[in-house]
Amino acid sequence: MKGLAKDLARLVGPEGFSTDPEDLLVYRHDAIAYFAQGEPAAVVLPQDTTQAARVMAYASQNGIPLTPRGAGSGLSGGCTPVRGGIVLDTKRMKGILEINRGNLTARVEAGVVLADFQKAVEGQGFFYPPDPQSKSVCTLGGNVATRAGGPRAVKYGTTVNYVLGLEAVLPDGEVIRTGSSCVKHSAGYDLTHLLTGSEGTLALITQATVRLLPKPPATCTALAVCPTMEMAARIVSETIAGGVVPSMLELLTTASLAVFNRFVTPPLPEEGEACLLMEFDGTAEEALRQAKEMAGACRDMGAMDVRVVPQADEAAVYWMVRSRLYPLVVSRFKRVVTEDVTVPRDRIPDFAAKVMGIAQETGLSMGLTGHAGDGNMHPTIRMDEVSDELQARADQAMAQVVKAGLALGGVISGEHGVGLHKAQFLELELGPEQIALMRRIKKAFDPKGIMNPGKIWPPELES
């Protein structure tokens, strides 16, 4: 790609890109390093939509692959430049353009960090619930591109439930504005929600208009340690059946208990097989009452240690640990393979039993954490050693887990997106007809196939 640096300097200025291998190392992968497969030729950091459009038109004319990137905190390999080319880093487009109090909406640029946005709207008494656990770094653009979500999905849904409109750049550099800032909208195909979750394979999302909610006045946290995974899973499905809707309901495993115990007193009983971490919101009285009722139900069902934590600062410690659990656990092993299979909530006990069964059959160290309240589970395989043989065994076991989830009426991804890691499973979930239709849609948006190539479906299904 001779002359690339010269061309990019013309398009975005000398400070707007790098072709130095020293800078590009970190752009090869996302938050999972072990399946980094590509060497980008450049990273480009556009300041605004105009610059981004210029770069995309250039890439289109020259047939250069483009891989959009937010914070690179994803877990599916979605933003990895597997065919080389240009990584389009959106982090410098970081303006919160509007918080509209009268309409309860906000308009943001793609690179706005989720936590910064949440802080800004909460400062005005509003609430933007989607909460992927990488919220301290992940970007709104990345959230929209992957339909990201987190613990609050049980009550508030995920990013997809908040996106009203988008600004996006098509691969040839044309800028489109989809949707609106209206709460209701029923004109034409819903391109907004086609782009939402398209993982950068159709267009580059540059702005989003999102819905806000009034901020609930209070929250109350509760925690229950259960002697068995089955019991925890049963509590979750019975809670949902009973019509109680916590604002967060997380299922954590034994390994998590040890991590909690580095931060909380008195220590939790580490012999428990699972732990439920919950939050309720509403008025202070409502939140506390719900937490106490839930705590009572957990005790009745045989939980070993049940806590209600109404103090915000103390509760914050539990949720801080939760949000860092993934990197905390990963840093204790040589490698961790994780998925985000999601099942209907009444099937969580069956799914938990299947995963435990697969762990026993394969002899692999497996854990099952997840946003149980919404059925989004994170089966993980923890490896103390790394070898091709072990990796193959882990991949095989994970494929079994994914198939078990699908057999229960589940989906292969609840919030991470398909990316690279789950491309092999998409057809299992959707079937060949839907894949063929999606490929025709892809062709309509991106006839030259430059947008995030190698993602969502395996190379043999690309044409």
């Binding site: 020293e22 800078d23 190392l25 992968h29 905190s73 880093d89 990488s134 993934y326 990963v330 961790v336």
Partner: protein
């Protein structure tokens, strides 16, 4: 901290989560991922350990472009000792050649003389005028603080405690008002103060340059001078000295070595001077002081932030004083030792958001126990607007 190879296991434990983006002041300005701990460690491994990339100009630039504030290490979910890895990388990248060795010699002299350049200091204004030294380089006092102090400072009344005072280089040679204030406040509260002979710089500035051997040498000197003291505590007014003596010095030596054992005996006795007074309790109530103030918490205090807050609690005992907290007291000011001299644009960008917070607080005075933060903030706010917390307290002991 003896070599990068010792950190290989830690580097391999990096989960690549990228959460370090939330904490790096340099990244907050540049928004280029190579300027995050994730990017830097990948580069260090590739260029300095595995030889996959050459350790060329760009690699050196990325390693140098770090404040060594250590915030990434404190926020890393995996708890990786990132700041130490960056120091070890700098050790490996030390420049050679006569100019570098001349500069190294000057630094060594300065550190051995506890920050005071001696007669050479007179050349400062001339060097600045000729453009040989940066205009924002602080000018040392004509005579260092310690030149006129006895070996033991005795309070006039009852002796409530006895401490060894590790006077930081800045208090000794730049901010003598800080040193005078610490002396006054300690004595007013019945503390007998030993000023041990033979001390040198704590060694943290040496580490920041990757001069590990020099840091070890200084540490041995300081250990020898402090080991002989029969005191309740070793206090210092400087945040970075606390960090070095309490947390980093042990890492300079092999585990189980005599030096490491000596540090283990010393480290628990090291306290920020204000925190020590907080635990002792003020023996004499401060007078009325109608000042509004706010705290800038130095990055180097991240591991012992409670000590900074304890120091601050003394100011809350001044009748009439009004504490106006910043939105984020721990947000970086951009100084990073002498980083601001080498990277003025970047540092000013970091400082800008701190200055906005300070303005919003409408406090008259900013207190901070770190001399680098003080110097850099006062370049923007004016010399009287930024003080050591104990200097504010000393004003209430007229």
């Amino acid at each position: 901290m003896l070599g990068l190879e010792q950190y290989r296991e830690a580097l391999e434990r990096c989960s690549q989560c990228g959460y370090c983006q939330a904490s790096c002041p340099v990244f907050s300005q540049e928004l280029l991922e190579s300027y995050t701990a994730r990017g830097r460690t990948l580069l260090i491994k590739a260029a300095l350990m595995d030889g996959v990339l050459p350790a060329g100009k760009r690699a050196k630039e990325i390693v140098a472009n770090c404040l060594l504030c250590g915030t990434c290490a404190h926020t890393c979910p995996g708890g990786l000792p990132l700041d130490e890895i960056f120091m070890a990388a700098r050790n490996q990248l030390r420049p050679g050649g006569p100019a570098a060795s001349l500069k190294r010699g000057l630094h060594r002299k300065l550190m051995e003389q506890r920050g005071h350049p001696g007669a050479m200091g007179k050349l400062g204004p001339l060097a600045k005028a000729l453009g040989l030294a940066p205009a924002d380089l602080p000018q040392p006092a004509a005579r260092p603080f310690l030149a006129d102090q006895p070996e033991v400072l005795r309070p006039s009344g009852e002796v409530r405690a006895r401490v060894a005072w590790f006077v930081g280089c800045a208090a000794n040679s730049l901010h003598l008002d800080t040193a005078e204030a610490v002396r006054k406040v300690l004595l007013a509260n019945g503390v007998e103060v030993v000023l041990p002979q033979g001390l040198a710089c704590c060694g943290l500035p040496a580490l920041a340059q990757g001069e590990i051997e020099l840091a070890q040498e200084l540490a041995r000197r300081n250990l020898a001078a402090l080991a002989a003291q029969e005191v309740d505590a070793v206090v210092t007014e400087c945040t970075s000295c606390v960090l070095m003596l309490r947390d980093k010095m042990e890492r300079l030596f092999m585990p189980e070595s005599p030096e490491a054992q000596a540090v283990q005996a010393l480290a628990p006795k090291v306290m920020e001077a204000g925190a020590f007074l907080h635990h002792l309790g003020l023996g004499q109530a401060p007078q009325e002081c109608g000042v509004s103030y706010t705290l800038h918490q130095p990055c180097h205090a991240a591991g012992f932030a409670a000590q900074v807050r304890e120091g601050l609690s003394l100011l809350e005992q001044m009748p009439g004083a009004d504490y106006r907290p910043l939105a984020d007291p721990a947000a970086c000011c951009g100084a990073g030792g002498d980083f601001f001299l080498k990277n003025p644009t970047l540092s000013q960008g970091v400082r800008r958001s701190k200055l906005e917070q300070i303005e919003q607080s409408r406090a008259e005075v900013v207190v901070t126990p770190c001399p680098a933060c003080r110097h850099y903030l006062s370049l923007a706010l004016g010399p009287d607007k930024v003080k050591h917390p104990l200097a504010l307290l000393a004003g209430a002991y007229e």
